[in-house]
């Protein structure tokens, strides 16, 4: 799988693959990102896998573009033969509805079913963590059952409570901090997605699997 390199300014290169959300494409992106990181290329500061691209942030005074592209090419060839690492499955306990899930009623109306059925559909799937972004520890997960895949709010809330579990179309996610947010909030977890006191502060990373459990 060859990607197209697009420069976003002079210190950022995005290797873009497909234009869709596809687990196989995403798996290749995560594998490539992991390979590039492990090469420890001097001058490379951050490697970020997203749905269908790998973005490399680099210091242009420490590495030139030709060398960077050669490294990416080499890493891509190595990644092509690597099986996706066996990601962990993390179970997240969620209190659905009521004050913890102010949008559960709206999602039930959208899905034309009972709130309990929305919960059942949300908790029946195993979700893939496609990428991390938006906030430290925020995981973009998919794919949500199409019957409950309600689009995000037209106007974001000024404040969504930390631990809130949301749906935005086929994506689901958990807010790691109090923040503004536009996703449909169906419940809340007490699990901390980001805790600087842990040896690994981040609960999730791209490639992990997540299931939700109603408590």
């Amino acid at each position: 799988m060859t990607g197209r390199v697009v420069y976003l300014g002079d210190s950022c290169a995005a290797v873009q693959f497909a234009r869709t959300i596809d687990p196989a494409v995403n798996a290749r992106c995560i594998a490539l990102a992991s390979r590039v990181e492990r090469r420890g290329v001097p001058g490379v500061r951050d490697v970020v896998a997203t749905y269908n691209a790998v973005t490399v942030h680099f210091n242009p005074m420490l590495i030139d573009r030709r060398t960077l592209e050669a490294e990416l090419d080499s890493a891509a060839r190595q990644a092509a033969s690597v099986m996706e690492r066996e990601g962990r499955t993390v179970e997240i306990p969620v209190r659905y509805g009521g004050e913890d899930g102010p949008d559960l009623t709206a999602v039930a109306a959208f899905a034309r079913c009972a709130e309990q059925e929305v919960v059942r559909r949300h908790t029946s799937a195993t979700y893939r963590v496609y990428m991390m972004g938006f906030l430290p520890g925020f995981a973009y997960m998919g794919s949500v059952d199409s019957r409950i895949a309600m689009p995000r709010l037209e106007t974001p809330r000024l404040r969504v409570a930390s631990g809130s579990v949301g749906i935005a179309g086929e994506q689901t996610g958990i807010y790691p901090f109090d923040s503004p947010g536009g996703w449909r909030i169906v419940g809340r977890t007490s699990i901390k997605l980001f805790d600087p006191s842990r040896p690994d502060p981040f609960l999730l990373q791209a490639g992990d699997r997540v299931t939700f459990v109603a408590v």
Binding site: D10, A33, V48, Y51, P136, S179
Partner: protein, 302 residues
Amino acid sequence: MAALTIVRPGMLTTVQDLGRWGFQSRGVPVSGAMDWYSHRLANSLLGNDSAMATLEVTLMGPHIRFESETAFAIAGAEFRLTLDDEPIETNRRIQAGPGAILKFGERMGGARAYVAVAGGIDVPKVLGSRATHVLTGMGGHEGRALRTGDALRIGAKGKGKGVITPRPLPLTPVTGGAKLRAVPVDARLFTQLEAQRFRVSPQSDRVGYRLEGGPIADAPTGEMISTAVPTGAIQIPPTGQPILLMNDHATTGGYAIAGVVITADLPLAGQLAPGDWVEFDTCSVDAADPALREREAALGAG
């Protein structure tokens, strides 16, 4: 132990360094000095390592008391400055005696100044950096803007290169506005950006500047797949009002990107205040390298 106390905090004074790198894959913004050039210049005047933390001062500056003998330097935006009520200059190494009070007065140009102290501001590192990310309370002094009464430690000196010769050159002052060189990403959107002058709106901060002007026509609407974005990216949301992403921006975004400001001109962007004008000029990726080397040379590091 060397320390300083915040007597008056100013509008927004935070501890910053050259940023929290290595964790964007976990959603952690880079943060760090909005004008990396002036941050480094202030440090270099004291023989500090460029990565040492400084205080980033915004628009209205603080009053600071040095509790012990301290060498300091200020670079970036131009302010009227006094030490124990005597005028002092920016871009110079200055010695403060115990109890001396530094006061920021009237702002004369630019938006952000950097106060460096010999040995650096010593706050705990979080994920390898002292940069403050206020939204998540990460880093800096208790993860927030400084307040009256805050006491900050100053690091032990040493391991610096010594004062760099020749003398580093201050950044061209930004008064009223700036032209920013940017690499186009979407030619159709960038052509429209280049053709006009924008104004930095009051809804602008370390996360990004909302620009007034335009609107840019044919901005993509609908749900776009999130991609990783760098500082300096010029986003065009469906409204057509550009957003220039700055240091505290989220690591990923779902808006179209028209272009990205080159690293050499990020310090100019960091010196823009609400009400200032902005223009964008095309710069190829190839032309961006000599522009950055020019900055490095002016710092005495090239």
